[in-house]
Symmetry: C2
Subunit: 462 residues, 2 copies
Amino acid sequence: MNKSEMEINNFIDSNKQRFIDELIDLLRIPSVSADSKFKDDVAKAANFLKDKLLAAGADLAEIHETAGHPVVYGEKIIDPQLPTVLVYGHYDVQPADPYELWDSPPFDPLIKDERIYARGACDDKGQMYMHIKAFEAMTSTNSLACNMKFMIEGEEEVGSDNLEHFVRENKDKLNADVILISDTSIISNDNPSITVGLRGLSYLEVEVTGPNRDLHSGVYGGAVANPINTLCEMISSLKDENGHITIPGFYDKVEELTKDERNALNEAPFDLASYKKELDIDQIHGEDGYTTLERVGVRPTLDVNGIWGGYIGEGAKTVLPSKAHAKISMRLVPNQDSEEITKLFTEHFKSLAPESVKVKVTPHHGGQPAVTKTDSIAYKAASKAFEDAWGKTPIPTRDGGSIPIVAMFKSELGLNTVLMGFGLDSDAIHSPNESYGIFNYIKGIETIVLFHQHFARLKKIE
Amino acid sequence: MNKSEMEINNFIDSNKQRFIDELIDLLRIPSVSADSKFKDDVAKAANFLKDKLLAAGADLAEIHETAGHPVVYGEKIIDPQLPTVLVYGHYDVQPADPYELWDSPPFDPLIKDERIYARGACDDKGQMYMHIKAFEAMTSTNSLACNMKFMIEGEEEVGSDNLEHFVRENKDKLNADVILISDTSIISNDNPSITVGLRGLSYLEVEVTGPNRDLHSGVYGGAVANPINTLCEMISSLKDENGHITIPGFYDKVEELTKDERNALNEAPFDLASYKKELDIDQIHGEDGYTTLERVGVRPTLDVNGIWGGYIGEGAKTVLPSKAHAKISMRLVPNQDSEEITKLFTEHFKSLAPESVKVKVTPHHGGQPAVTKTDSIAYKAASKAFEDAWGKTPIPTRDGGSIPIVAMFKSELGLNTVLMGFGLDSDAIHSPNESYGIFNYIKGIETIVLFHQHFARLKKIE
């Protein structure tokens, strides 16, 4: 480690408690983008970040209003000759429902067993804020290796609907050499990894209507179609007994991996017994002929995210309801196209409807799948950074989740993205009792600093 | 019409407005038995009835506390030699959710187009209160033909759990010649009918659990069973493509009708086109090989009354939930046994569960199917009463709904029941905007009076 690296690490070490306290302050703000009643809190979080960027050494930090929640932009340009790293993150969080399943309140962060428990602790506040602290560590020790730009939005959890417009309107401002995102996970703290593949997303809401009003299930039961029963039958037919999705054309553009690629993917450490134990399930379940890592990383899937209809309150009510609803999403892999899949689903689902009901399908936000090349300079810089900080070469992995804007950044800005995340599956993002390890938070800051240094070095000798 | 009948009809006519006003007062009380927050209102309705029974001429009217909501008992014994009619009804009502679908508040009765709109207007307050007004008309004109007893409970909508105990504890008090109930409907005002068959009921709640917490559907989608998808598949498999229920042993005890019986049943007026039009459906749906009247009257059926799981709030949430739930009920016909069917369903449903999930089945209240003989004195009295008041012989029909206590009255008190109801399908019981026609309310009172007179006469010459 050189003198500069030692200074930076000392700075991080001395300011560790403040780094944690600031993250806690950010986590207190319930910036839930999906629910309009938290609108003001979302704006408050944006302003918090703007102030922190300036305090960390940004020359410029501003709030960009959009048709929805604002984008926070910040930058420090030290030398136009140096490469520029554009950091993307999001300050909005998932809803915290159901609140009763949290052991501590989701927006009253708790530190326990060296972990921070709060909604957004990992996804994405903890992960995003590491970059601002890494930035601060570098500016404070006068060791910034690249120009830095920050684009932190407030609508990732609801589809980033206004981000594309912001990007288009600010192409010059956003000019850079690479985009860096921390919103993914590593296999474990003993097995660091870099996500080189993300699944795409297609999300729809369906509504099945039977009779024009709720009916008495004695007077009408058996005589007319029950939209809940019908919805169950339609959903059930979307997969066959092999876990294969039955929508015509669904798999047409799926890129099958070669035998070697499958072998490489399956070499990543994976302990089925503890996977099942952690989730308290007796058996896993998925598409025949594929391992768990493949099912999540390289195969498209379909899940019902929510379903409701009829009487769901206390006690019994013998109703034959008028309507039944479901929220359904599909994870996609290269080269499936999100809009095309949404269209195929819509046509197929409508065709499944018997004449005794009416069906409405409403598409929500989607996103394209994406893959990063491991022979790029940016990937190499990230890999080296992990080697230095974690003592191990990171394994390239295919992640199950989606970050739709990665493909949009490529098409609009011509920029590739490196997904250098530090979360763990057990952080339970999107679930109750989400948390982030303080170890990962601090180690992440160190790794990010090293990325900047390696990226600048490798770009120089390119 | 004799002098006595003319007097009675004049009395009814002169007091028509008061009869309506009193019913309106009763309808104002939100006596929702399914929801504990209305407990005091349920008690209030019981007291209201007690007072009205006394005002109508009862020698005795009392509130009997139970482990749940109270039973109101009233009587007037004029002559032990005369037959005794025991009237059963219920003063509790269905929940009114969803409130936003009501055009006028469910507990703020509205009179419009000669109809009373309120929760309970028909089921069962309007129908039950006709008996108290018929009683008043007879006592006021000194023309009571039979001894009268009233047993009005407050838990019918939640399964009458405490009624059997009340009946057992009061067998002597409840001694009578027949039970009269108004809680069913006629085909139309042009086609009066008497319900001679009721379906039974088996009601259960099921819960399917996958992982031990809600998961991120990107990280885990495709790798583990999604309990919503699994629940849909399990529900879907409960019926085959012919609308036939697949639970082993389900149909074993079903009494098939003879060809003649089926023909007779299908002679009842039924207009498929207006049936569909009224419900705004393009096609009916049910068990192959049976007409709509048969599907509802003499065939057992299965309906999902409620289903919920995952995220059902505003916007999108990509969750793979831990649990999915459903409320499922079956309507039964002679000679199916409610407890046996509940057991068959439970065993079968649990057996459907793949190893990747855990299933919990919780039975709710049930009820046995019941059939009335058309050659009984009571039936003949009711039939004659309709002929006199409506100018037409009523058609004997098999109703789709359940009144579980009818079978219990037979086994505990040895009494048969006559189901002489005056509702219409379009009253929309159990639905928003329930109503009861003032014509049916008043005509019902007249018909009930005639029943008493014919019953006394036929019993005398028996």
